[in-house]
Every structure is written in C-alpha cells, then in structure tokens.
C-alpha cells in the first residue's frame, strides 16, 4: 500500500491546539509546504516542539509570526525577534531546553523510555523544579520524554513504503522526531520506487512513517 498522498490529505490531519513536532535546523530540513498549508488553513493555538523558531519569514518562524502558536519547546529563539516579542508580552509560552537534552527527550519518547539522566543544566536555571539523582557521585537531572500528536518532517527521498533518506545537514531532528509522534507526515523532494533505495542506505525505516507528500505535486 502506497503512503503517498496529496497535500490536502496531509492538512486534513492537522488541527488547532495540537502538539506538533517540526523537523529542521534554522529551516534547513523543515517541510515548508506543510508550513504554508498550516498558514492557509489558519490552524491556531499550536504547541510546537522544534530545535528553534527559525526566522520570521522561514520555516516554523512563519507560524510564530502569524500568531498561530501558543507554546514552543525549543533550544533557541534568538534568530526570530517575533518569538521574543510575543514571549515578552506574555502571548507565547517558551520552554528553553538545551539542544542535546531536547533531542534526547524526543528520542526517549520514541524509544519508550521513562526519561533520561543528564548532567547538562546542573547548577543552572534549567535544573529548577527538576529531580536530581546522584549516581556514582555524579549529579544528573531527570529529564522527561517529549512526545507529540503529529510530526511534520522533511526528507530528500522516499519510496512508496515511506522509507526515507535525508540530505546533508537537513537530517538533524527529523529521524528522531519520526519515532516520537502518533502521526508522522513527511514532505520529500523526490519519490522513488520500492526497492530503489538500498536497505543499507535507509535513514528512517518506512514503518515509522504514516504519509508522504511529494513537494510540488499537484494537489489532487
């Protein structure tokens, strides 16, 4: 059964108020067609989990600029002045998480783990309100898993079974998020036949993927 669908079918899954993971690092590896679709559908009150909030005119930053977001869980907001502005005026909730901890919390959810222990953040504000465990004399923060209803990802190639290959630095958070959401929706540049991707070269096995949209395809 082919997982390839139209953009309309992808958009039918995205609703206001959802918790959504979005792949990418400063918009490299972000599914821009899905972002455009969300702007057009005017879904609001989104809770976004991503590396950062990009720039006001790119990637996730466009959703923030359009005020469609209630909360972001990210490692950085400095490249998007709109995020800072909405945060300062109390319109947007921002949870800042060290980048390595952020990706590992997502990985924990996808891997069925109850949390992770890390020494990153010990002695800083990041530790506030968190449980500290001491193991063999070393202090660690207990960081809890992060999961989402939807993951919106970008890959380079997919086959009809949803096997994915990413391109260069556009891989980043995408393969980890593919494991941590109830529905995994992927925008790709290129669709190939089943069997065209060498199994040794698959980055995300298709069983983690629900739907694939081929960028630029007519919307039918």
């Amino acid at each position: 059964m082919s997982k390839v669908v139209s953009l309309t079918e992808i958009m039918a899954e995205i609703e206001s108020g959802q918790t959504v993971m979005i792949g990418g690092f400063l918009a490299v590896g972000t599914p821009e067609s899905f972002i455009t679709g969300m702007l057009e559908k005017e879904v609001t009150n989104l809770k976004i989990i991503a590396n950062e909030t990009s720039y006001p005119d790119q990637g996730i930053g466009r959703l923030v600029a359009a005020r469609q977001v209630d909360k972001v869980t990210v490692s950085h907001i400095g490249t998007n002045p709109e995020t800072g502005k909405q945060f300062n005026s109390g319109k947007l909730e921002v949870e800042l998480v060290p980048q390595g901890t952020l990706v590992e919390r997502i990985r924990a959810a996808g891997a069925g783990l109850g949390g992770i222990l890390t020494s990153v953040g010990i002695g800083t504000r990041v530790a506030e309100g968190k449980e500290v465990l001491e193991i063999e004399g070393e202090k660690y923060l207990l960081e809890l898993p992060l999961e989402a209803e939807i993951a919106l990802l970008k890959a380079w190639k997919a086959d009809k079974k949803g096997n994915l290959v990413y391109r260069k630095a556009a891989r980043n958070f995408n393969p980890i998020m593919a494991t941590a959401a109830s529905r995994v929706l992927v925008e790709v540049d290129e669709l190939v036949e089943v069997g065209d991707i060498d199994p040794d070269q698959v980055h995300t096995p298709g069983n983690f993927v629900d739907k694939v949209y081929v960028r630029g395809e007519s919307n039918e």
């Binding site: 490299v28 590396n51 060290p98 002695g123 800083t124």
Partner: protein
Amino acid sequence: MNKEEKRKIIAKRVAQELEDGDVVNLGIGIPTKVADYIPAGIDITLHSENGFVGLGTAPEPGEEDENLINAGGEPVTINPGGAFMNSADSFVLVRGGHLDVTVLGTLQVDEQGNIANWMIPGKFVPGMGGAMDLIVGAKKVIVATEHTIKGEKPKILKECTLPLSGKGEVDLIVTEMAVIDVSDRGLILREYNPEFEIEYIKEMTEADLKVSTELAEMV
C-alpha cells in the same frame, strides 16, 4: 586597538591551543574565526552541532548548498572524509566524551570556572542552543572573549551575576590582553600581551588574578 584587531589576536592565540587530531566545536563570533589561524601541519576536525563533522570553509559565491549550513545558519562546505549525522548522534559526540575542545564566547566568566552566556533576564533571552551541552561535554572548554565590555567593564568576575550556562567547567580564558588558566587555586595569568601593563590587566579583571611563575608574553 580596534575590535577587529582584538578579535584577530584572540582567535590566533586560541588556535595555538589546538592539537593534531583534535575534534573541535567553534561557537559563533570570535570562536568561528579560530578556523582561519589553525597552524600548518595540525589536522583538526571541526564539529557542527546541527549534524556533521568535517566542517569546511565558506562556499564560493553561487556555490551555496541549501541543505548545508553551520549552526549559525551560514552556508558552509563539508571536507572530504566528513560525515553527516542526526541531532541525537551530534550530541552523543558532544556529551559522550568524543569532543576534545569547545571554544565559546561569553557574557561573563568567573574565577570558579563558571560561565554565563545564554541570557540577560528581562533584556536578552536568545536561549542556550547547544552551549550548555558543549560546556559540560567537551574535554576542554576555552572561553574566547574580549577582556572587557566596551573597554571598561570587566567580564572576568569573582562571581557571575547572570544566569549560568555551566558551573565550574571553564579551563582556559583567552582575551586580547591575556591567557588565563582556571585552576583549583583560582585564575592564573599564564601569558600577557606586552601592549598592556600587567597592573592594567589586573585592574580590568574583577576576579583575583595570580601571576604565574612562568609568565610569558602572548605570541
């Protein structure tokens, strides 16, 4: 001495700390410039926390690749022998003891080796990005910073007043005036720039600065 001259002195001096075979992460700003001064014959692998090792130079104009940026969002290249990885593996490299050196800029650093470089409450809250992981994870943490804020206010303090990024993790501070070791005995002035009097360097440092018995000139 203008800002550009200061940055050059700092970047050049930090580059001399790197050893053949080191895996190194360079932060944004002065640290990025360290790559321009790596001594000949020293083979360094640069890590980019958005997911690769083998970070190369900027591409020729028109040769930019939309899928290849550094952690600051600038177009870059990857060297032969480089490798891409996902963000989880990128931070496995950082936290797991596989990164030899990280070079970071800072807002404040203090004599206990504490560093504050991610926020000024109420004013400037960009977030920590990967900095906290790098500070805890790297085997050696080098702070590359101008000695003062605008030539007047010390950045090297007895105790950081801004929210910390890491506690007791800094190993070395390199400024346009000095090379300072962070030790159990506090801050040790190891090298100084002869363009500045030692007394002046001490005056521009809020923390107590002990002069090494092997004090040398910065080269």
